[in-house]
Subunit: 392 residues, 2 copies
């Protein structure tokens, strides 16, 4: 079971990261899902709750009595302590017992999936621990969380592979539906119907999943498909879509060109732009291997685009992919302040990344996105790697 | 449009709460939904984003360029500033322009829907503002957030009313399905099928919504319906269910008694326990009116239960209900440390609360839950108020 596999991995990571205690402190997890918690707890809680992993193999949960049953049912925590009115007593008792030198918490300035603890809850924890020696021992568990999430197990990779396969299937089904006159919104509605038929959820909120862009006047970025922008001959049609299946995500961008009457191939500038994007992804993939730093991979792809005379894409080449579509950890991005230290981080075996970028043309936006797995020697494409424009 | 209504309300609350600036600082909102943001922003963001409401009517959003389009589409922010690499420049520019004396942020020790800011993101904000006078002006916007969320507009109340109506419809449909031999899990599956048919989502994760308890050996609390506990003659059947419809929730508990052969009415102890729960809710409702404090309402209901010789219920009598099923703000609960200052807070006109409690019997758990709206003089039941055990 995936939950147990990740819990064992977390246990091993304590030693590796030099932490002797990892504490997830959470409440109302439907409102405040903690990305660290879904990996090893697997059930939600309402009242203040504490989940301990200790360096000597301890696994202790403290939750309100009405939450104990759901936590016990998952079988991860050997000890599940219930309380009614106040978590402070059992919390201090467990800390006395473990007496950790450092208590790693789920927060990080840069890594979003390592940042599940809310600020108010941090302040509450300070209050609960006031007057005890544990207050001084609080630290960030970000390095543990990044590795736990980033190093996908074979079972996790298999789930991502399945999510990618379903997405490719949707793309294949969509191709014969694309025709002049259809609005971006109508194309998105077809995809939504397909999601429902296949029993998969969109990887991000349906309102903007898929992103659909037809032609040069379409809004770019994280936009909603337009009901008034319609596919026309001479348009590039671009979609960015992902699904969530068995808890894991895909994230792909795919491209079509709608030929004008009498046109057998896309215009030369479109072909040149498309092949530049393909070559940039190829360069990124060639640079992607264990030990390389995130910004180095990004730079390889970015150079291809800039050398070809296009303006730089305004985002990183790739992000982690897993339970979340932006899965945190190492980012394959430029050294821009918005990416913080994530782009300095090291690529590891078992990481799954997107490789994505685009350039604008007079016929519309050209963007491609592939999903790849880092192997011992390089990377493996989990997606089919679009290297030719699909023609309508 | 609801979003505009709440944005106007937020604007008015700035003066009322003495804040001259409310700043929602957010990122990756699919991973970290900020309960403050869904009320007035209405779209998600990926990169570091800042949403300002100023005392002089300013509404300014700073988001990554690929997020500007979705934010503009909502029409809430008069100024939407895009950036690519670093939010720091535009962030300081806007702060210089507003020059607020206090900058209210989304954090709270106690109130979970006012606690959307993560701790790592708080630390990042500290870093972004270091060396500026604004660092010292950061404070909590919890009082604004509690009122914004708690004071439901007529349009919001109507949505909750509709969610309650659908839930009552499901309960009515369910009654003739309840029969000996059916497992708790099978009963839950019937409800899930009904959710799908009616196009509503469960108000909390489907795995535990509805909660189903049949007979005295069923697990209580936030549990999963059992595939092995089956309805038997002589069982009390209890469900706790809620739906989310048009973004607003219901939350009800309903009760049936399955008669034994020859039995015309439930055993006397069951009847006594049931009527005690009904009377306790009645007492809570009688105490609920604007100006009263949360713990006072709870105490009125709790007294009925204790005076009747039953053990106290191990939770508060009621919680706010709205966009979230646990909607934050004032809690109608006892003065236990786990509830913090939420139970000291004042009840206001337009608040919507649950009134819920239960007692155990030899035939199973008796729990009821109603949804009520605070009016100028007391409260109005939005639900049908179960005052008789339904008999199977």
């Amino acid at each position: 079971m995936l939950l147990h596999e990740k819990a064992d991995q977390a246990q091993a990571l304590l030693a590796e990261t030099g932490l002797d205690c990892w504490l997830t402190f959470a409440r109302e997890t439907d409102l405040h899902p903690d990305p660290g918690m879904e990996q090893v707890v697997g059930a939600g809680v309402v009242r203040n709750s504490a989940f301990f992993f200790g360096a000597s193999g301890e696994r202790i949960a403290i939750v309100a009595n009405f939450d104990t049953s759901a936590i016990r049912a998952k079988g991860i925590f050997r000890e599940v302590i219930g309380y009614d009115e106040d978590i402070r007593g059992p919390l201090l008792e467990v800390l006395r017992r473990l007496d950790p030198r450092q208590i790693g918490l789920n927060y990080s300035l840069d890594d979003v999936t390592a940042d599940g603890l809310t600020h108010g809850h941090w302040l509450l924890l300070q209050q609960l621990l006031s007057g005890t020696p544990y207050l001084e021992r609080l630290t960030s568990a970000a390095s543990l969380l990044a590795r736990l999430r980033g190093r996908k197990s074979p079972a996790e990779v298999e789930r991502i592979r399945q999510a990618v396969a379903v997405t490719e299937q949707i793309v294949g089904w969509l191709t014969p539906q694309i025709r002049p006159g259809l609005s971006e919104w109508e194309l998105a509605a077809l995809v939504h119907a397909r999601f429902a038929e296949l029993g998969v959820a969109p990887a991000w909120p349906a309102e903007g999943c898929p992103i659909v862009n037809s032609g040069p006047s379409s809004d770019l970025g994280h936009t909603y498909p337009s009901a008034t922008v319609r596919i026309e001959p001479g348009h590039l049609v671009h979609i960015d879509l992902g699904v969530r299946r068995d808890g894991y995500c895909s994230d792909l961008q795919r491209m079509w060109y709608v030929r004008r009457p009498g046109e057998s191939a896309p215009p030369a500038d479109v072909q040149r732009a498309f092949s530049t994007v393909v070559r940039a992804i190829e360069a990124g993939a060639a640079a992607l291997r264990p030990g390389v730093r995130g910004f180095e991979v990004d730079a390889s792809a970015r150079k291809v685009v800039v050398d070809a005379g296009y303006s730089e894409f305004k985002h990183g080449l790739g992000h982690g992919l897993g339970r979340a579509v932006h899965d945190g950890g190492t980012i394959l991005g430029p050294r821009w302040p918005c990416y913080g230290r994530n782009v300095e981080a090291i690529v590891e075996v078992g990481n799954v990344f997107t490789l994505e970028l685009g350039v604008p043309t007079a016929s519309g936006f050209i963007g491609l996105e592939e999903d790849v797995l880092v192997t011992a020697t390089g990377c493996e494409f989990l997606s089919s790697w679009q290297r030719k424009l699909m023609l309508i």
